[in-house]
Amino acid sequence: MTRFVRSWLGIAAATATLAVDGGQAFAQKELVFGLQCDRTGVTATVGVNLCPGYHDYIALVNSKGGVEGFKIKVLEVDNEYKVPPAMEAHERFKKEGAVLEGLFGTASTMALTKKLEEDKILGTSPGFGTAAAADGKRFPYTFPIAASYWSQAGAAVAFAKEKLGGTLKSKKIAYLFFDNPAGKEPMPIFEELAKSEGFELRTFAVPAPGLEMGAQILDITSRFKPDFIITHLFGRSPSVSIKELKGKGYSLSKVVAFVWGSAEADIIAAGGMGVAEGYNGIQFAGVGKDFQVIKDIEAMYKAQGKPVPKEMDSTVYYNRGVFMAALHVEAARNAIKAKNGAAPTSEEVKKGMEQVKGFTLGGLVPPMEITPTDHEGGGWVQIWTVKGGKLVKSKDWFQGFRPVILKHLEAEAKKS
């Protein structure tokens, strides 16, 4: 027998052993979660910090004996923010028996909506997908579980109103957005609020890839001269907007960014916390390390004698990963409890997700209530502001103009 053949036999034997091991592990009580992530595509800056948060929370739950006696196994697939790999990932999760899955990316969320419904597996899309997905009757297996762009628009206007002294009558608000569907989505909310609150709205589109917005910023600061600016940008463009606005001397304390423009990474890329003093950002999960769960994760690493991962310093995205994982675990917990400790199916986990209520994880998760009709959980957000070199909470969990958002959701539901 040649050495070549022997080495292959060795690999085959090792694989066989692994397969047997895998079989034994499966005999244990185990739940499978699928997680799509983008670590190499256009939103990689988010994925590389968000997904480790997800894994760490699951590891923490497993180290404490799992959820109701079930260990959780996470399968992660990097979909590169592309649609075909996302479909492949979903089919893979389904094959491995995943009871739920975390989606990543607006396009792939939309593309999987129908498939999730057909396969009866719930998918969560915090910060992705369409605002209409909050309607649980229309999209039964899609769960935004966090404030949609509509809710964020409502919150941004409510925040502006508060900052401008309680009224928006004859004030001017600029909306600076990335010229893609996600950027245009909140427009109807702004337009309606502009009418009812009496402010003047003007919109400024930034074409992809959003790295050049000098003209728009000049137009805003020198011609329109708004009282407040709401920005909705992605990727590298939030940092460009901070730099440009700062360069034109506009006070950043009168700027509020949507959730994908409000992370530490955006501010650091714009020149550091010192430069962006006063910059406000909307958050759908808690920010910072001042949470028991974060300390528990740190303690878990220390107990294993490993260094604490550097991703934890990017608290905005890392905490969003923890937030996602925590809600997934809660949904599974509700489902297991409802079955008195038996393994739940994906449909039962979906019902479990619809019972999540009063679960705040020490303030990292908003006081949301997910119901069969409201998959958004109420659209709660916080505002965090750069103050003295770090992010400081300047407005606790609140819902902005909720009745207006609900009205639009109803109108959207009638359309279909």
Binding site: C37, R39, E88, T106, A107, A111, T113, K115, D179, P181
Partner: protein, 355 residues
Amino acid sequence: MFHRESGVFKTTYSADMALYPLPIAKWTVAVLALIFVVIVPLTVHEYYLSILNLIFIAIVGALGLNILVGYTGQISIGHAAFMSVGAYTAANLAVRLDLPFWITLPAGGLMAAAIGVIVGMPSLRIKGLYLAIATLAGQLIIEWTINHVPAISGGAQASIQVDRPSLFGFSFNTQGSLYFFLLFFAVVAIVATLNLVRSRIGRAFVAVRDQDIAAEIIGIDIYRYKLLAFAISSFYAGVCGVLYTYYFGIANYEQFQLIVSIDYLAMIIIGGLGSVLGSILGAIFVTLLPIVIRILMENVGSLFFTTAEMANVISGLRLGAFGGLIIFFLIVEPEGLNRLWRNIRSYFRVWPFSY
């Protein structure tokens, strides 16, 4: 395809151009048909069918691009935009007029062909890199238009949900049934291309590619054939977009961006320009390789790392390995996988007496 001839005995042109060079080729096709129509769907797990489905769609798109770039020699980086034209045409027809797929699918293709002719018009005056930039402009204009015209895009989200295709009351709503749906169109596209390239039109395309002035001198109307190449190629792209739409149940704007055009160019360059088999191999290679690398790495990597640690390693290494393999294959055989396959065949044709 998998046979060995004992020699070349062809005495007429028609024998040389025959689809089946030898009777045994018919058997090869019959066996392939048996495998893909009966054995694969019965034995293979749904997950693998879903990968095959993605490959089938990619084959249609790659064939279309190869007709334009490989056979006619006109570079296009607007292929994804033509797909989106097909996708949105079909989605609008399916949703607003409630038309079945056998009308929306050709309609999507024809609309893409019409737009393709317009975007292809610069090819009458410019060539090479200049044409590449002109088609890039086409890509960006179409992307912008879809994004900004609600009548096409169906609202701010620029996405239109469509129902699953159905035929005589049977709905193709599982990976297993979509497999047959997509297989059918992939086979039609392959057979149509095979016949196209050995027809008068196909020969004219090749003549235009090799030297357009010479082609004009021997009586080929190059304006007509260049635009025809754009039309046919865009028709395939449009059909590919429609297939994507039905496969995902949605026509989405972000699904057809510039990067997708580049992906398809990569497919035909790796597979082999100007060959049908090359388009198929390229589509398989580009779709399958990242998945194979990942599964391989997960199995090997789980010996050393935990899932969380491995995720970063896999993502990075996968991209590296993917790029590395593309370079490797192109250095081994610059003319693509198709040429590699032909080299292997001609090696075995004389084996074991290769001297």
